[in-house]
């Protein structure tokens, strides 16, 4: 088990800057994120978009801001648990917390800071009756190892780049492959779309455009056995399948955070504004995931929240003792 002063959940700009503010108070941080890279939505969604309201930068690309923050926090040598979706949060003795990831990583921390932004990015699911019961029994949303589909009858659904890319890759592997897309054409990379069309023309896969998923059928063992589809203007029909892989992109969800007993207000965590502590002592929330009167979802507001949170976390960890307040211009930044 890993031990740290503070466990930060979320490696977006605010979670990263929290490492700095905690470091100034000589608190060591461990940062966890569902995504395999740091930067949160700035890295995942808009790395090349300029941001205009970071003080001191008339304009900075989102990806560059993350690079600068990583440079700024480097002296404090934070630990990183990337690709680790936090699922469990449990109080242990001494006001400390046990944080557990889906993959089984366990971190013991004196305080927890939730800087989860929009929440976890989770696969967007089609609205089909009985879908949940077939998850893991033929329905998969992510392809980790394409080899598991070797020789199987696979139905992919979706029309974006990832649906096209996986279709091309699985064409070599699956025994029988179908791509179902609701629209008549693809908005993904034209080159990939053309290659998919060519494979379909050559009879290497079944391409069903203007086609919707209607229902799923299971066999006696409870595994997926067929997918019923309907092409516009034609009757629905059943397609035998071992696997259905819906690829409709990712959508942010609050995820397990909703189950931790924290006071929420419309999918945001309520905090007090003197230290950004949640309704549970020792758990703090900063950045887009929190709410309070006057809240603005701005990176710069998150930075401010990180500074006040650090002092609150220090008091929680040190039995109420007040940290001494120093300016970096006076003391400089000495690493941990």
């Amino acid at each position: 088990m890993l031990e740290t002063d503070v466990c930060i959940i979320g490696a977006g700009p605010v979670g990263l800057f929290a490492v700095f503010e905690l470091g100034l108070l000589r608190l060591k941080a461990y940062v966890m994120d569902t995504l395999p890279v740091v930067g949160g939505q700035l890295a995942e969604i808009y790395p090349k978009k300029p941001i205009y309201d970071i003080p001191g930068y008339p304009s900075i690309l989102a990806g560059d801001l993350i690079d600068r923050l990583m440079e700024q926090i480097a002296p404090f040598q934070p630990g990183f648990g990337l690709g680790q979706k936090v699922v469990g949060l449990e109080a242990v003795e001494g006001g400390r917390w046990k944080v557990q990831s889906e993959n089984g990583e366990v971190v013991l921390a004196g305080a927890v800071v939730i800087a989860g932004g929009l929440g976890c990015f989770e696969p967007r699911k089609p609205d089909l009756p009985g879908l949940a019961a077939l998850e893991g029994r033929g329905v998969t949303y992510m392809i980790r190892d394409p080899e598991v589909f070797r020789g199987r009858r696979v139905v992919l659904a979706g029309g974006g780049d990832s649906a096209l890319d996986w279709t091309l890759q699985l064409a070599e592997i699956a025994g029988d492959l179908t791509l179902v897309h609701r629209n008549s054409s693809f908005r993904g990379a034209p080159e990939s779309a053309a290659r998919v069309q060519a494979l379909a023309d050559a009879g290497r896969l079944r391409l069903l455009t203007s086609t919707a998923l209607v229902s799923l059928e299971a066999n006696a063992a409870g595994n997926l056995s067929s997918v019923t589809v309907q092409t516009q203007g034609q009757p629905a029909w059943s397609l035998e399948a071992d696997d259905l892989i819906p690829l409709y992109g990712l959508t942010p969800q609050l995820g397990p955070i909703a189950d931790w007993g924290l006071a929420l207000d419309a999918s945001a965590i309520q905090v007090q504004t003197d230290n950004f502590q949640t309704s549970v002592p020792g758990i703090f929330a900063i950045g887009d995931i929190n709410t309070y009167p006057g809240k603005l979802k701005l990176i710069l507001s998150g930075f401010h929240e990180a500074a006040l949170m650090a002092h609150g976390a220090y008091r929680h960890i040190h039995g109420g003792a007040k940290p001494s307040f120093k300016y970096t211009t006076v003391t400089g930044v000495s690493g941990l």
């Binding site: 939505q41 929440g119 089609p126 819906p246 942010p252 999918s267």
Partner: protein, 108 residues
């Protein structure tokens, strides 16, 4: 102050005609939120989450951008009428009126 009249049909089918001011740069998503409709708008208006999606029924409005079309295209239950409220400026309602339906699905 200039206004647009928007008839909003909510998930239960109840229609309500509302007036919103133009000239403040408001998006349809922001207007619906301010009127108390349960529009999540998780991403804050960047055409990234589609939680502000509406079904456009009537009224002339600006064409969707590539970013909006890309996001709509990822939705499993996209309709030809689907639009993202965050990408529609109230100023772009050239007739000054519209009818739209809020998306009945719980979460996109």
């Amino acid at each position: 102050m200039q206004e647009v009249q928007i008839t909003v049909i909510d998930a239960s089918g109840t229609a309500q005609e509302l007036a919103f001011p133009t000239g403040m740069g408001l998006s349809l998503m922001e207007a619906l939120k301010s009127a108390g409709y349960p529009v999540e708008a998780v991403c804050g208006g960047m055409a990234l989450c589609a939680t502000c999606r509406v079904e456009w029924q009537e009224g002339t409005v600006s064409e969707p951008t590539d970013a909006e079309l890309d996001m709509l295209d990822t939705l499993p239950d996209q309709q030809p009428t689907s639009r993202l409220g965050c990408q529609i400026r109230l100023e772009s309602l050239t007739d000054g009126q519209a009818i739209l339906r809020l998306n009945p699905s719980k979460k996109d």
